[in-house]
């Protein structure tokens, strides 16, 4: 069985902001696999293109050349909207929509023109998300604007898994949090990943986080992606 994601000679250059300028190469000839079910970490110096690489997984951006395969097929062969529904994404800065936390959790179910959910289906799904226990029950009727950054990040995480995706992409979800809150959020991410059987790919620039998660590490060095296996909490073994 092929890996869930297969990158083949992927090159990505950011389109220049000024016409006529030369595009800046960010990724060069990257080839690697992300097997199903792993918790992979993208790491590397700041400005190396970690977030950019993450955005290729759900086609918020497309490679300049090369091929990305998802679930055995060219990623471009999937209708992009269906693809994104299979892949949740948590940005670096939490995003809150208007209304209460519950309203925020309903948003993913209201976005598609051709896929309609009944009110009961939506409430059941929101109930399941709340049952994951990321936030205290009494918070869900509060305005999302009243949340702390940490709470808002957990809300963003819940919303990202609302459509029951198979993959979860996380862009430095702990960057705005203190070490305690980071640890807690990481533990929750791990738990959701295990419970929902998700393949997770997370950008991190904190070595202790990378070591803690272990598993597959994608390190970006000078535009190239170097993969290695790190055993959780410990030393290298590959």
């Amino acid at each position: 069985m092929p890996a869930l994601f297969e990158f083949r000679s992927v090159t990505y250059s950011a389109p220049p902001r000024d016409r006529g300028a030369v595009p800046t190469p960010i990724l060069v000839d990257a080839s690697f696999d992300v097997p199903r079910g792993v918790f992979a970490v993208i790491t590397g110096p700041s400005g190396a293109g970690k977030s950019t690489l993450l955005r290729l997984f759900n086609r918020l951006a497309d490679p300049t050349s090369g091929e990305i395969r998802f679930d055995g097929k060219d990623i471009r062969d999937y209708p992009v909207i269906e693809l994104r529904r299979r892949i949740g994404w948590v940005p670096q800065v939490p995003v809150r929509f208007a209304g209460t936390l519950e309203d925020n959790l309903r948003v993913p179910f209201t976005l598609s023109r051709n896929l309609k959910f009944s009110a009961e289906q939506i409430e059941a799904a929101v109930g399941e998300l709340k049952a994951l226990g990321l936030l205290p029950e009494e918070l869900y009727r509060r305005k999302a604007d009243d949340l702390s950054v940490g709470e808002a990040q957990r809300l963003t995480l819940l919303r990202a898994v609302a459509l029951r995706p198979e993959v979860l992409l996380l862009d430095e979800p702990t960057s705005a949090l203190d070490p305690d809150a980071s640890d807690k959020l990481l533990a929750q991410i791990e738990r959701i990943r295990a419970e929902r059987n998700l393949t997770a790919i997370m950008v991190s620039h904190r070595p202790e986080e990378v070591r803690r998660i272990g598993g597959l590490t994608l390190r970006i060095v000078d535009g190239r992606v170097v993969t290695s296996e790190i055993s959780p909490q410990g030393g290298r073994n590959g």
Binding site: P16, L60, I81
Partner: protein
């Protein structure tokens, strides 16, 4: 036309210039240093309006509706170029988009007013089409520049939010809906304000013109209303076309936000 109309000849205009001299003199004696700009402004206004008068007098001789439409198209093009100049970071290919939306909205409104409302073959002559078209295009131009500027800044400030919506399976139009709404509202507020206070605080230009040239104030009021409706309809349509096309420029067909344009 009523016979109470006072003819303004060039001598009257020259006398009127006295007020401009008062302004220049006041600026000079108080050291405001606006004399130069005032002189340039007055000279330009005299030249431009005189030329416009001659051009219109000539254009009004045109019998063909198609020539008139061509002139209006050129006016809309000039408006598109102006609108592009007012947008801080115009996207590539902005002029055709602006041209289509400005022309689309204003032509629809002018056609509606002349064919359906006035319902008189005379309305399809340059004497009606050019002033009405100019009025529509000018107002639409202001609206579309405001909307363009606002839409771009909304996309930039709401970037994360838009990409979260995209990542959850929203298409470009759905993801940009809030920004479109903000741009539309910003562009329509001046028109709404005008509708609210028209006739209360100031007498609008068309009415002033018609009343001064001897038209019954009630007829003038009805003309003014038609023009207002034309502006509301034309602007709304132009904004709708323009913003829909702008979404297609700022997003790829694969529903990706083109950050390099922001």
């Amino acid at each position: 036309m009523d016979n109470g109309m006072i003819i303004v000849d060039w001598l009257s205009v020259a006398t009127g210039l006295g007020l401009a001299f008062v302004a220049i003199g006041l600026s000079y004696f108080q050291g405001f240093r606006m004399e130069r700009d005032l002189i340039i402004g007055v000279v330009r206004a005299v030249l431009q309006l005189t030329i416009l008068g001659y051009v219109l007098a000539y254009v009004f001789l045109i019998k063909s509706v198609w020539y008139t439409a061509l002139i209006l198209l050129l006016m809309a093009f000039a408006a598109a170029v102006t609108a592009k100049g007012r947008i801080k970071r115009p996207y590539p290919g902005a002029i055709p988009v602006l041209w289509i939306s400005i022309a689309g909205g204003s032509f629809f409104a002018v056609t509606y007013i002349t064919i359906l409302t006035m319902a008189d073959p005379q309305a399809l002559t340059p004497r009606y089409l050019i002033p009405l078209g100019g009025m529509a295009i000018g107002n639409v131009l202001n609206g579309i520049s405001l909307a363009g500027e606002r839409f771009c800044s909304e996309l930039e400030s709401q970037r994360d939010r838009i990409e979260v919506l995209l990542s959850l399976g929203a298409d470009s139009h759905r993801a940009a809906a809030e920004s479109v709404r903000a741009a539309f509202t910003a562009a329509m507020i001046p028109t709404l304000n005008m509708l609210m206070v028209v006739g209360l605080i100031q007498i609008p230009g068309i009415m002033v013109g018609q009343v001064l040239t001897g038209t019954d104030p009630l007829i003038a009021a009805r003309y003014q209303l038609l023009v207002l409706f034309m502006i509301v309809g034309g602007k709304t349509l132009s904004l709708t076309i323009g913003l829909r096309l702008a979404v297609r420029k700022y997003f790829t067909p694969e529903h990706q936000l083109r950050k390099e344009l922001l």
